[in-house]
């Protein structure tokens, strides 16, 4: 582990790069998925299409996407923009489904009740539908965050530097601790972001915590999982 202690600065810089790239993609993916997921949820006819098409994005091999997008869109493959856009696309692939499932999970009785007390459509969406979809959306967001952070490492194969650098460089130099350090760093920041999201969820959705215990409801996870 000498290598690690000698290269803490390097690991630190790479971690910051990695976080910056991933977080931008996660946030962008989340924001874009909200309207897409809403459309899919609201318009039954579009639903199959939106879900299938966004789900399809996930089947594109990341390497290919990272090389072909810049050719098609005309920006340099080595730019962070390239990686961030590709990661955003994968984030959307998971999140749209989660947003749709989340809106689905809102008890129709609650929705009706909100209408009955006099919420207009738009106001109801922001005050009732979206917050109540929160727990499922959050579960999807957590899956998205973890897989985005882990996936970002392929950026190094097209020249976008982040923790993935430790893999290619470690392989060329046959330094096992370097590769291992990369994996551990990626996993740690993924789990850290996951934890932060969970805590944020607790803070923002206090009602979801106070549910009567031991209700063994299938958590949102499998649905988000199915999209992954």
């Amino acid at each position: 582990m000498d290598w690690v202690s000698d290269n803490l600065d390097l690991i630190g810089t790479l971690t910051l790069d990695h976080l910056r790239q991933s977080v931008i993609a996660i946030v962008a993916g989340f924001l874009l998925s909200l309207p897409l997921g809403w459309v899919a949820w609201r318009y039954r006819l579009l639903r199959g299409w939106v879900i299938t098409v966004t789900g399809l994005l996930y089947t594109i091999p990341s390497l290919a996407l990272l090389m072909i997008l810049p050719v098609v869109a005309g920006y340099p493959a080595t730019s962070e923009t390239n990686l961030v856009i590709a990661l955003t696309i994968y984030a959307i692939a998971i999140m749209v489904r989660a947003v749709t499932d989340g809106l689905d999970s809102v008890d129709p009785a609650v929705r009706r009740s909100a209408t009955a007390v006099g919420y207009g459509d738009g106001r109801r969406f922001w005050a009732v539908d979206l917050p109540l979809a929160g727990p499922v959306i959050l579960a999807g967001l957590r899956v998205t965050a973890v897989s985005t952070i882990s996936l970002a490492t392929v950026g190094i194969l097209v020249g976008v530097t982040n923790l993935g650098y430790l893999f290619t460089n470690g392989l060329q130099r046959r330094i096992i601790p370097e590769v291992l350090a990369g994996i551990v760093a990626v996993a740690l920041i993924a789990l850290l972001v996951d934890l932060l999201l969970m805590l944020a969820g607790r803070a923002l959705m206090p009602w979801a915590r106070s549910k009567a215990p031991a209700k063994r409801k299938p958590a949102a996870e499998p649905t988000a999982e199915a999209a992954a």
Binding site: D2, W3, D6, N7, D9, L10, T13, L14, D17, P76, A77, T78, S79, E80, T81, I156, L157, V158, G159, V160, T161, Y165, T168, N169, L171, Q172, R173, R174, I175
Partner: protein
């Protein structure tokens, strides 16, 4: 280890167009050996009081050449032969001098190369010592006499390169099967999954793993010496410092740098710093 953070090999990976303020932007390939040379350039220039920005570890040549052309990167350690082939795939030049001369003609507007160094890091066909002894191999041509099936290992794109399996057959009459061993080519050669391998000549494992580089009498490969590719705008600014580096960088020296990186696992900034000190350049 006295590595200090200001000499981080990767620096801030800001987006393009940062050279406007006059800083020299040094790039490197995603290849540790190339990165070391780039770091040496950087430290040497910093030692001469220049402001430097690092944009290291860029994968493909076609990814960074456009950035050099646009001026987003202004200095890049390159290899004469491979660079020439990038611009002129059909080139007939083979010797270091010819290649260097042809390269100067082939470079696009705005780019130039400074003095090439004697250190080279070029493609080669390499076998294990045991295999060479067993089959009496000294040159690539001798492979034609080997009775067992030859399997050539190398990066996947070797299959399509002019010096790849087709070139071997056309130039030397040697028939091989190809295996895309990629980043583990040397290990595969040592382990015996391939018996001929496309290895870079500056790879320290040629010595440590007892490998034999086969001679290339018909010049299948271009000479490929380390050469600084530079934007014409700053060529004059940096030429003195960089040419001194190139002059000091010997073939053995380059292998030594690679050994420090892979065997001693030293960090790139430390290697560069030490080399500059050892060569009286800091």
């Amino acid at each position: 280890m006295t590595g200090c953070s200001s000499e981080d090999p990767l620096g801030e990976n800001e987006s393009t167009g940062e050279s406007a303020n006059g800083a020299i932007v040094i790039g490197s390939q995603a290849y540790y050996s190339n990165e070391i040379v780039a770091e040496i350039y950087a430290q040497a220039l910093e030692g001469a009081g220049q402001e430097v920005e690092r944009r290291f570890s860029i994968g493909q040549r076609d990814a960074y050449i456009p950035e050099l052309e646009s001026g987003a990167i202004t200095l890049f350690p390159e290899y004469t032969g491979n660079l020439l082939q990038f611009f002129d795939a059909e080139t007939e030049a083979r010797s270091p001098e010819d290649v260097y001369a042809a390269l100067q003609g082939a470079l696009p507007e705005g780019l130039t190369v400074l003095e090439q160094s004697t250190a080279s890091d070029q493609d080669s066909y390499t076998v294990t010592k045991a295999f060479a002894d067993e089959n009496g191999l000294a040159s690539i041509a001798d492979l034609a006499n080997v009775s067992e099936t030859l399997t050539l290992g190398g990066p996947p794109e070797l299959a399509e390169r002019p010096y790849g399996p087709t070139g071997l057959e056309d130039v030397y009459g040697v028939q091989v099967e190809f295996s895309a061993t990629g980043d583990t080519t040397v290990e595969d050669l040592v382990a015996g999954t391939v018996n001929v391998a496309n290895v870079f000549t500056a790879d320290p494992r040629i010595q440590t793993d007892d490998l034999v580089v086969l001679e290339d009498p018909e010049s299948l490969f271009l000479a490929s010496n380390v050469v600084p590719l530079v934007s014409e705008d700053i060529a004059d600014e940096v030429s003195e410092v960089i040419n001194a580096v190139s002059a000091a960088l010997t073939p053995e020296g380059l292998v030594g740098l690679n050994v420090q990186s892979t065997v001693d696992q030293m960090s790139t900034p430390d290697i560069a710093k030490q080399w500059l000190a050892d060569n009286g350049l800091s």
